[in-house]
């Protein structure tokens, strides 16, 4: 099952600011909903997001239940060198997903 999509330009010039877009498949159950019988539905959300560029962290986020389902993020980084940009999501109930994309920097 596709758990996440990471999109960024395949190539860039050194020093360019590139945009990274990331979507994760997750219902982001807030913990504030109840079933029709009044039983609370427990919280089940992504709580953390981190992005590394050749292993070094370039961006991090903390999510709360107010983040919409199938969380979407777009942020930027400076293209410094060729390599791998990896996004990882972690959350309740042991949720852990990593998705990467390669970039060639000239």
């Amino acid at each position: 099952m596709t758990r996440a999509i990471v999109s960024l330009p395949a190539t860039a010039r050194r020093g360019d600011i590139i945009e990274i877009k990331a979507i994760a498949a997750h219902a982001m159950e807030t913990g504030f909903r109840h079933t029709q019988l009044g039983v609370p539905i427990p919280r089940d959300i992504i709580t953390g997001f981190a992005c590394t560029y050749n292993g070094e962290e370039i961006f991090r986020a903390v999510f709360y239940p107010a983040i919409a389902a199938n969380p979407y993020l777009t942020f930027s980084t400076v293209a410094t060198e060729s390599g791998t940009i990896a996004c990882s999501w972690s959350g309740d109930n042991g949720y852990s997903v990593t998705e990467s994309a390669a970039i060639t920097v000239a």
Binding site: T30, I58, F59, A61, A66, A68
Partner: protein, 165 residues
């Protein structure tokens, strides 16, 4: 969504405001800045406490943070939010973090972004949930330790044709 029934009246907030976030600069230059100062000072206690956890006793100056949300939200389940901070993003002068809060959601915190000079520019976008018509606030922390804020008022309605009655 459950309402936070522990909120007290706004008048009581204004009186108590000084004790929680002391020294909010009251010299906003623009209407937007005035709005965010007012927004923090009249926000419910839970929101102000959440902001206090981030800024401690530091002063929060209105400005630099530009929050962009639609004025009339099409659906409160997924509201596009973008936040930009006016900053050169150099090693010497950059944005360390941006925190977003709401006043009427069951929890005040929405998201926190942690950036640094590698970002190139301080511009992040996501999609959030808004429970009701309200003010959304953003507080950013710069590398020099200063805090800046911005806010936007948003109208949220229910969808017309839903799944369950």
């Amino acid at each position: 969504m459950k309402r936070d029934d522990t909120k007290t009246s706004r008048r009581e907030f204004l009186l108590a405001a000084g004790g929680i976030i002391g020294g909010i600069t009251l010299k906003p230059a623009t209407a937007a800045a005035a709005e965010s100062t007012a927004a923090i000072s009249v926000a419910p206690a839970a929101t102000r406490e959440a902001i206090a956890k981030v800024v401690g006793s530091a002063r929060v100056t209105p400005g630099k943070v530009m929050l962009d949300l639609p004025a009339l939200v099409e659906n409160g389940n997924a509201v596009p939010l973008s936040v930009k901070v006016d900053s050169p993003m150099t090693q010497a002068d950059h944005v360390r973090a941006i925190h977003v809060f709401t006043e009427k959601n069951p929890l005040p915190n929405v998201v926190s972004f942690f950036l640094g000079p590698r970002a190139g520019r301080a511009s992040v976008a996501t999609r959030i949930r808004l429970a009701d018509t309200q003010t959304v606030l953003a507080v950013c922390e710069l590398s020099d330790g200063s805090f800046w804020s911005g806010s936007v008022d948003v109208v949220v309605t229910l969808a017309a044709c839903t799944e369950v009655l």
